[in-house]
């Protein structure tokens, strides 16, 4: 059921969506976006790939089990919380290591810190969690014959 058009389109769409998703994640703190939305955009990219090339190809592209990715994401968020605890004694308090506060109270520098790590965690959990369910569902509904099974079938 592979479609050539979708396959070709996905080669352009998938990387674009992934880049957009990261951009959405990055700008989320100041403009509409953020980890949740970014994660959903990335999921769409991989959904297109899995529709065009098959779930196996999408899994191979991810290289890592989606649920593991989600677990890593949750780990990032937890680490971000602990980071705040270590620096300020308050769990999940934002830490901005690259921001300097001038005498008049204005802040400047690179706005990257524990908050971004937290949002990155959300991003990864959304990607991993949704893709995990989606791939599993797709494999149940339309299982792709894997090598072991074909060999079994041949022998039987």
């Amino acid at each position: 059921m592979k479609s050539l058009i979708l396959s070709v389109a996905s080669r352009a769409l998938m990387p674009t969506l992934l880049i957009v998703s990261f951009y959405v994640l990055w700008r989320g703190h100041n403009e509409p976006g953020g980890g949740f939305i970014g994660g959903l955009v990335a999921v769409l990219g991989l959904v297109i790939m899995s529709k065009a090339e098959g779930v196996r190809a999408a899994r191979d592209f991810l290289r890592i089990e989606p649920l593991s990715l989600a677990a890593i994401g949750l780990g990032c968020s937890v680490v971000s919380g602990v980071w705040g605890y270590i620096v300020y004694g308050t769990v999940l308090k934002g830490v901005w290591p690259f921001i300097t506060v001038a005498a008049d109270g204005s802040k400047s520098g690179l706005p990257v810190g524990s908050i971004f790590l937290f949002d990155l965690g959300v991003y990864l959990v959304v990607i991993g969690g949704v893709l995990g369910m989606l791939f599993a569902m797709e494999e149940v509904v339309a299982p792709e014959p894997d090598e072991d099974e074909t060999r079994d079938g041949g022998a039987g």
Partner: protein, 733 residues
């Protein structure tokens, strides 16, 4: 490596031993760390005479048991798990007896419950072990909850959670109105933990644990936790009628039931478990008497019982290991093949039967002495103690004489065990003799400070092997005579007992459990139809009910709606309405899904119009993904069209829910919007959290804890969903 726990326990024993001079001089030691300062809860530890006695029992017997365990399981790869659990248990138990803070005590108390559960269910592939572990957990766990309630009531009344301060307020507590409630709750906790009637039945079941575990937890230490707490709390709660009678009666019944049931057991380990019930009952009964003499007897018997019972359990373990069985009828004549094991069993059994010059004899004398002066009922207490002790003599014979004399019987070729197996019980049995011969130092150094803690005032303990010819001595002679007589006819007694079928409290437990099972099965059948439509209907019905209840209970005034909205918005609303109608009336699943997508997109557009870009983006993306999910699921669904019969209940439900939501929203529009939070976030989002997108800042900074919870739920849901789907795929293969 496998001897490390024993070494650690030995070091702990030595460390506690080093406190002995100071404690027996009447001092105490205490440490405290803040834990929940707002609630007045701390991790407070305190060593006084009673704690020290228990700590020495726990670490000392622990050392020997850990050594024994390492030998008993030496060729078993489960040894590390067993030792780890035993160590965890030992630590919890130590914490329990050292804790001075009621809440810390409860935490350690539950620690022993949980480790006991894991240890009883150690052979987790045996159904009986699992059921027994669960039974022990349910009974002691429920008691633990009652105990927590009791301790909190006491703590709130006393204004302190320090036990050492509570016990000084005994008179005030006894005079207060919380006394009855607090006492009942604390007693429930103690009685379940120490297996007092009517909660006694979990203890024999707990014998599903490996023998060293039973010796340690279910005879020498954990089941004494309830007794410990009764001792600890007696200055605060004791001395009243309710205390005296509930302890005396429950203790006496437990003692008699345990003794009678012990005689009929075939399994030596189960027999010992029932004699443990006898020991625990005796301790509780003595504590109920309320006299100083009785408290002294209790403290002494605690030590006596721990020594002989642990030794006997371990020697039954030796029989099991070396002779291949622990059934009374399978064993006999092993004296020649296992002389050392016989000597150990004999020493311990003589102490259990209370023969001189063992410490058991002194213990029994002191018990009779105090029973004759019991404040409750001398006749009842002395009578039941006498009956139980006679039966103990017979049981001691069954454990130490039956397997070693007579015709030689064994399941395999028996012989004395390795050092690790005989050392522990030998030390314990020898201590029983040593203390019997030299009781004075024991009484003064160890028991006197413990007694002081139980009675709340300084006390003197003078122990003698020879009391002279007095009434207790005569009772002892009667015990020996009757006990030996009973042992001679034990075969007939056992047959008679085994033939009798008496309903016990355990049947009540089974009935209760079966009732709960049936109830939950019924609830599950009614609520969990297993069909998506049933779940949805149920959820929506509850939702509609709640909404309408809220509407009807508040006197909502509906304002006149304002229809002056831009035309474009009307367009979106029409899109949503049309899509909804299509969803409801189309027979094609594909069209229904697309139309649902239309509803979602329309709502997303409304969000855009009101400036909620983030929400709109999320809504749109979720909408797209839902269509993808549905599309995949569609491949599995039947191709037949949806049947569109008229379903009045569903329609009524939809109308009720829809109207409810409309009325609620309408009412909300009429109220004044509280902008406090909005203004707060607008003001602080950029300067404090360095972000101008308030929605995102709320998600990842201000309310990050909520988000953390949500992403955890996403992950858990995904794991569950993937597992379910994989299971379905496996099943189909």
């Amino acid at each position: 490596m496998r001897f490390l726990p024993a070494l650690l326990a030995f070091m702990a024993t030595a460390w506690f031993w080093s406190f002995l001079p100071a404690i027996s001089a009447g001092e105490t030691r205490s440490w405290a760390w803040a834990w929940l300062p707002d609630q007045g809860v701390e991790l407070a530890l305190r060593i006084d005479g009673l704690s020290l006695l228990f700590a020495l029992l726990i670490t000392g017997i622990g050392t020997l048991i850990f050594l024994y365990t390492a030998a008993y399981f030496r060729n078993d790869d489960r040894l590390p798990r067993l030792l780890t659990l035993l160590m965890l248990f030992g630590i919890s138990m130590l914490g329990l007896v050292l804790a001075d803070d009621a809440i810390s005590l409860f935490v350690f108390w539950e620690g022993t419950t949980v480790t006991s559960f894991l240890l009883v269910g150690f052979d987790h592939n045996r159904r009986y072990a699992r059921a027994s572990a669960l039974q022990a957990l349910i009974i002691t766990g429920l008691g633990g909850l009652a105990l927590l309630a009791g301790l909190i009531i006491l703590g709130q009344f006393a204004g302190t959670y320090r036990l050492s301060e509570m016990v000084l307020m005994g008179d005030a507590i006894r005079a207060s109105e919380i006394y009855i409630a607090a006492t009942i709750f604390v007693l429930l906790g103690c009685f379940t933990k120490s297996a007092q009637f009517p909660f006694h039945f979990w203890l024999p079941g707990a014998m599903a644990a490996p023998t060293p575990v039973s010796a340690y937890l279910h005879s020498a230490t954990m089941v004494k936790a309830g007794v410990y707490l009764l001792m600890r709390m007696s200055p605060a709660l004791g001395g009243t009628e309710i205390w005296m009678w509930s302890l005396t009666i429950c203790g006496a019944i437990t003692m008699i039931v345990g003794s009678v049931w012990a005689m009929k057991q075939d399994d030596l380990k189960l027999m010992l478990a029932h004699t443990t019930l006898m020991g625990l009952g005796a301790l509780v009964m003595l504590l109920g008497s309320g006299t100083k003499e009785a408290a002294k007897a209790a403290v002494l018997f605690l030590l006596v019982h721990a020594l002989y019972k642990a030794a006997l359990f371990l020697s039954v373990g030796i029989l099991d290991k070396q002779a291949g069985s622990r059934m009374v009828d399978d064993l006999g004549g092993l004296r020649g093949a296992m002389p050392l094991s016989f000597a150990i069993a004999a020493l311990a059994a003589l102490s259990m039967a209370g023969f001189p010059p063992f410490i058991g004899f002194i213990g029994k004398e002191v018990i009779y002495e105090s029973a004759l002066h019991s404040a409750a009922s001398p006749l009842l207490v002395t009578g039941s103690a006498l009956a139980a002790n006679i039966m103990m003599v017979a049981c001691a014979g069954l454990v130490a004489i039956k397997p070693y004399f007579g015709e030689r019987r064994a399941q395999k070729n028996p012989g004395d065990p390795v050092f690790g197996l005989w050392f522990g019980p030998a030390v314990l049995a020898a201590l029983g003799l040593w203390f019997g011969l030299f009781p004075a130092a024991l009484g003064h150094d160890l028991l006197e400070p413990a007694l002081g803690a139980v009675t709340g005032k300084a006390a003197e303990v003078k122990l003698y092997l020879w009391h002279g010819v007095n009434l207790p001595f005569l009772l002892s002679l009667l015990t020996f005579a009757a006990g030996i007589g009973l042992f001679l006819v034990i075969g007939a007694v056992r047959r008679a007992l085994q033939a009798a079928r008496v309903p016990g409290a355990e049947d009540g437990y089974d009935l209760g459990l079966a009732g709960i099972d049936r109830l939950s099965a019924w609830v599950t059948r009614s609520l969990q139809g297993g069909r998506m439509t049933v779940y949805l209907k149920l959820s929506f019905a509850v939702f509609a009910g709640v909404i309408w209840m809220a509407i009807l209970m508040s006197n909502t005034e509906l304002s006149r709606p304002d229809f002056r909205v831009p035309l474009f918005q009307f367009g979106v609303v029409v899109l949503i309405l049309v899509s909804t109608v299509v969803v409801t009336f189309t027979p094609s699943r594909l069209i229904a899904i697309c139309a649902l997508g239309g509803v979602g997109s329309g709502i997303a557009m409304l969000f855009v119009m009101y400036g909620a870009i983030d929400v709109a983006m999320t809504q749109l993306l979720v909408e797209i993904l839902v269509v993808v999910f549905f599309a995949i699921a569609l491949l599995q669904l039947p191709r037949t069209p949806i049947s569109l019969g008229f379903r009045p209940f569903d329609m009524a439900l939809s109308v009720a829910l829809g109207l409810g939501v409309i009325v609620t929203l309408w009412a909300v529009l009429g109220t004044e919007l509280n902008l406090y939070l909005t203004e707060y976030f607008e003001k602080y989002s950029a300067p404090k959290a360095l972000g101008r997108n308030i929605v995102n800042v709320i998600l990842v900074d201000f309310r990050a804890l909520d988000t953390l919870g949500e992403v955890s739920v996403v992950l858990i849901a995904a794991i569950a969903a993937v597992a379910v789907m994989r299971a379905g795929r496996e099943a189909r293969k």
